[in-house]
């Protein structure tokens, strides 16, 4: 099977969307963060030495039998409920039969036509506020495979490898597969919608606490199914499936690429091959994997070593009642509580600052103050370091409590903004808590009205022309005077008070 090493032809984005409509289907696999595997008691810790977390069951030794992990079932139900799915009253596991060296039994214990969750939806909010409803076909339980490392080839990939080394630590870890119904009507926003869906799903799963959903670590994986139909046609085109989509960025780019690739084929009168493709983040293209038309006949049948799962309605309602607030709903509520505009909230969300701001407010800061510091000053410094705010703050050991304290020093009149920024420098340099740093650096707003008045008088006297302009009604000119007053007070003056006093004296 020849692997294409040069990119196949693609149509321009404009031409693609002028002629075709995309239909997408996204399959997301979530690795649950349970303590043990789906069908045995081996631990699931990431990064252990090879083949140290295996037993007869997950190794597929002759004679071994599976026993279902009750938290695996519970997590599946909670995920289904969070996705507005119906929970089956009775369902079974099924064997999906195919051969592959990282499959210990050469069948995967999964679910076929009786999934535990089905018929749900997830509303996805895009950057501009548009909401797209993704219909969820099903969510079901299955198990992960072992991991192969391919040896001998140039790039560590299968192509050209001489042999492979298999570690079964990952085999048997619980997976929940979430499958969307065909996503139609996305048009040229398909890449954006795909990315937003995966991001929203990730936030939801994180809030549920069922997985650490780290795409880069493989605990959340996305396969993209895509087909194009000519504009105006109802018929679905032939689809391709793209794997190895390991980040949100890859999701968006892969959808976009496949749309243009399919478009090139169709517009030149060709037929899209139904196949599995591999996404390459470095080159931004997909290459052909296996032809899906010679698809394995998986010969599904109900798993005879397991008995049906029939979650009681009482249990399902208990789980439903205990679900955490959906992230989208929580964000709307907080936006209202914090009084942010839509744009302000979006910025905060996109920067991943919702939780930090929430904690800062809880520590006593005002919502606007919290946002000003996190989205403003701290974000600026983080960007200068090439980092994101959360990581930056974590690495320096500063957090909500520091920001809240700093804000209270400003709102309490002890510091002005310029001084606050200096204090912040000190905090980030490890000099201590804000109040301590202010003390150490002798930063304190001059509150002494006598000193202030003396300074104002001196400045007015030293700048008779500017003072006259203010008297004449040019209030803006006061700005220069304020600046001088601040210089007089070595920056420790209350600028607002100075302004008020200047105007009072001159107008």
């Amino acid at each position: 099977m020849a692997q294409a090493t040069t990119a196949e032809p693609v149509l321009t984005w404009a031409a693609t969307n002028a002629a075709y409509d995309p239909v997408m289907g996204l399959e997301v696999h979530v690795e649950l963060g349970t303590t043990t595997k789906m069908f045995c008691g081996c631990t699931t810790t990431f990064g252990a030495e090879p083949n140290t977390q295996v037993c007869p069951v997950c190794l597929g030794l002759p004679g071994a039998l599976p026993v279902v992990n009750e938290i695996g079932v519970e997590s599946a139900i909670r995920i289904g409920l969070a996705l507005n799915c119906e929970i089956a009253t009775w369902c079974r596991f099924a064997r999906k039969n195919y051969f592959y060296p990282d499959m210990p039994k050469n069948f995967q214990t999964s679910q076929y036509d009786e999934p535990i969750c089905f018929g749900g939806h997830l509303d996805v909010e895009l950057d501009d506020g548009t909401v797209y409803r993704v219909e969820i076909e099903r969510a079901h339980m299955e198990e992960d495979t072992g991991k192969s490392t391919h040896v001998g080839g140039a790039t560590g990939r299968i192509h050209g490898a001489t042999h492979s080394l298999v570690d079964y630590n990952r085999a048997g870890i619980p997976l929940i597969e979430i499958v969307t119904k065909p996503m139609v009507g996305a048009g040229e926003r398909a890449p954006e919608i795909a990315r937003a869906y995966v991001a929203t799903l990730r936030d939801l799963l994180k809030a549920l606490g069922v997985s650490d959903v780290r795409m880069e670590q493989g605990s959340m994986r996305c396969d993209v199914n895509l087909s194009l139909s000519p504009k105006g046609s109802d018929a679905f085109g032939t689809r391709s499936e793209t794997k190895n989509v390991n980040s949100l960025r890859s999701v968006e780019r892969a959808v976009r690429y496949e749309m243009t690739r399919h478009a090139a084929i169709l517009s030149s009168g060709g037929r899209v091959v139904q196949e599995t493709r591999h996404w390459h983040e470095d080159t931004g293209i997909t290459t052909s994997g296996r032809e899906k038309s010679d698809a394995e006949d998986y010969r599904y049948f109900p798993e005879p070593d397991l008995v049906p799962i029939a979650p009681s309605r009482e249990w399902v309602e208990e789980l439903r009642a205990a679900l955490p607030e959906p992230p989208g709903q929580r964000r709307k509520r907080l936006q209202g509580e914090w009084g942010y505009s839509d744009l302000e909230m979006r910025d905060v969300v996109n920067a991943g600052l919702v939780d930090l701001i929430g904690e800062t407010v809880a520590a006593g800061a005002s919502a606007s103050g919290a946002r000003k510091w996190w989205s403003g000053e701290i974000a600026r410094r983080a960007n200068a370091e090439g980092s994101d705010v959360v990581t930056y703050a974590e690495s320096l050991g500063v957090g909500p409590a520091h920001v809240a304290e700093l804000e209270s020093l400003v709102s309490g009149g002890r510091l002005n903004d310029a001084m606050a920024r200096q204090v912040w420098d000190g905090v980030l340099a490890g000099e201590g808590r804000p109040a301590a740093v202010a003390d150490a650096r002798g930063l304190e707003l001059v509150q002494d009205s006598g000193a202030l008045e003396a300074a104002v008088d001196a400045v007015i006297a030293a700048n008779p022309d500017v003072a006259q302009k203010v008297r004449d009604g040019k209030v803006q000119a006061a700005g220069a005077l304020i600046g001088q007053v601040m210089k007089e007070l070595k920056g420790q003056g209350d600028a607002a008070a100075a302004r008020a006093l200047i105007l009072a004296k001159l107008t």
Partner: protein, 508 residues
């Protein structure tokens, strides 16, 4: 002394051991000696573990001397069918594909045998992956019937039945998917039980058909079977299909052996045409014995039983085709490189290994099962077969409204000559026609000797079936019948078997 030890029942040995009349080492050694003497002819064993068995025996003796509490069967040795996983002992399932494989874990039933202090003498021969009715499909050569060494000992558990019939072990463990404990018992003049599905843990049984397999006792008497049944049965959290309920009172039922007032149902579809006349005659006489013992006989009809064989040979190969996929040369077992290919791929090595490592019968069933499950055929084959199972279960349920147990000859024929049915797989499959329905429905069944057939002087078996979880009824009826028959014979049936000579010279 040795002869007495090896011809004693397990219950008798347990009594001698408890009384201190004999040591566990003596008992185990006697059986190991017997194996050395006769197994070259019988070939019941694939592997004898003298060292391990004697060490276990010594441990029992030590504990008894120290006054520690011991299980009733402690020190009574047992042979284990090679489809059961035993830590440290080679386990092959009668196949080349597992040649030399030494499991790193014990089956749950083995853990229970060890906990009871029962020395494990060795692993017994079987049809490859339990597929067969004659043990001729073992990759390691057939086992021979102790009654006539040119005949089959039944299958797939011919090794366990022959070991017990030739006094190489007082007890053995077998597994039964379509009759593989009961049919060998029938043709070797011994006793064998297939417990209710789920009654005995399957954890550690190399799977053939997951929804049909059960492990059970192979012995010379009904009481011995009950005693062994009790050791291995019971809920196992490692087996999701095991029943979470107390073991039925099988030993008590065997001891009481009381059938007065019991209704015995003769299944019309399981007697008559196709059954060897001598087998049928012994069956009819046995039924009369039960009437004399106070039971009542009714005739029942289970029409769906005529489809049982067909359903079985669809359900079983389907599950087999999936269960045997794990044998792929990657993690354990045989690895064979394809000929004439320089740098074979994993896929090619898998296919070459499976062709070399699996025998013909196994390949037939894998292909059949793959077909029955494949898309387009699922509904017609596997799907239909699972529906026929339901019909069979319903027929049993209806029959058990009218009878407390159902009875039939265990097998239509006595032991046939080695090689007689190899060319005709279907005629081999017909051996299980009476035993298969019980596996499909999950109900328990027991076979005990009904006597010798007139035409060939070979043993025939009497099969008793009971409702699911009512295994004790098997033992009540079995023990009652056994008592009467043994009295009529003037002793155990096996006493009439030709004596096995230790083979020291080959025939000229």
């Amino acid at each position: 002394m040795t002869t007495e030890l090896i011809t004693s029942t397990a219950a008798e040995l347990a009594g001698l051991l408890a009384a201190g009349s004999v040591s566990a080492r003596e008992v185990t050694a006697a059986h190991l000696d017997r194996a050395t003497a006769v197994d070259e002819a019988v070939r019941a064993y694939l592997h004898v573990d003298a060292e391990g068995a004697l060490a276990a025996a010594d441990e029992v003796d030590r504990r008894r001397a120290a006054g520690e509490p011991l299980h009733a069967l402690a020190g009574v040795p047992v042979a284990v069918k090679d489809v059961v996983v035993t830590r440290g002992l080679p386990t092959t399932a009668g196949s080349r594909i597992l040649q030399g494989w030494v499991p790193p874990y014990d089956a749950t039933i083995v853990t229970r045998l060890r906990a009871a202090g029962m020395p494990i003498l060795g692993k017994t021969n079987m049809d490859e992956f339990a597929m067969g009715s004659s043990t001729e499909h073992s990759a390691y050569g057939p086992t021979h019937n102790p009654w006539d060494l040119d005949r089959i000992p039944g299958g797939s558990g011919g090794g366990s039945a022959a070991a017990v019939a030739s006094f190489q072990a007082p007890l053995a463990i077998g597994t039964d998917t379509g009759g593989s404990i009961r049919q060998p018992a029938s043709v070797t003049g011994t006793v064998g039980t297939k417990p209710t599905y789920g009654g005995v843990s399957r954890y550690g049984l190399i799977a053939m058909a997951s929804s049909l397999d059960q492990a059970g006792p192979c012995t010379r008497t009904v009481l011995d079977a009950a005693l062994l049944h009790e050791v291995i049965a019971g809920h196992d959290p490692m087996d999701s299909t095991s029943i979470d309920a107390p073991v039925p009172p099988v030993v008590e039922a065997a001891r009481r052996a009381d059938v007065s007032g019991m209704r015995i149902g003769i299944v019309r579809e399981l007697t008559g045409e196709g059954y060897q006349p001598g087998v049928q005659r012994r069956f009819d006489e046995a039924v009369q014995h039960l009437i004399d013992a106070g039971a009542e006989v009714v005739e029942v009809s289970c029409p769906s039983f005529t489809h049982a064989l067909a359903a079985y040979y669809l359900v079983m190969p389907s599950e087999v085709s999936s269960n045997l996929a794990k044998f792929d040369a990657m993690r354990y077992g045989l690895r064979v490189l394809p000929e004439g290919i320089d740098d074979p791929s994993a896929e090619q090595v898998m296919a070459a290994t499976r062709d070399a490592g699996f025998g013909d019968e196994v390949k037939r069933r894998i292909i059949l099962g793959t077909y029955a499950l494949s898309s387009g055929y699922y509904d017609a084959y596997y799907g239909s077969a699972q529906k026929v199972r339901r019909l069979i279960a319903d027929d049993f349920a209806a029959a058990f409204e009218r009878a407390d147990v159902l009875v039939s000859p265990t097998s239509p024929t006595t032991a046939f000559p080695l090689g007689a049915k190899l060319a005709d797989p279907l005629s081999m499959y017909m051996q299980d026609i009476a035993t298969i329905p019980a596996n499909l429905a999950g109900v328990p069944g027991l076979s005990l000797p009904s006597g010798l057939a007139d035409e060939d002087g070979l043993p025939a078996g009497f099969q008793i079936l009971a409702p699911a979880t009512r295994d004790e009824r098997l033992y009540a009826v079995g023990a009652a019948l056994e008592a009467r028959l043994t009295a009529a014979w003037g002793g155990q049936l096996l006493a009439k078997a030709p004596a096995l000579q230790a083979i020291s010279t080959k025939e000229a």
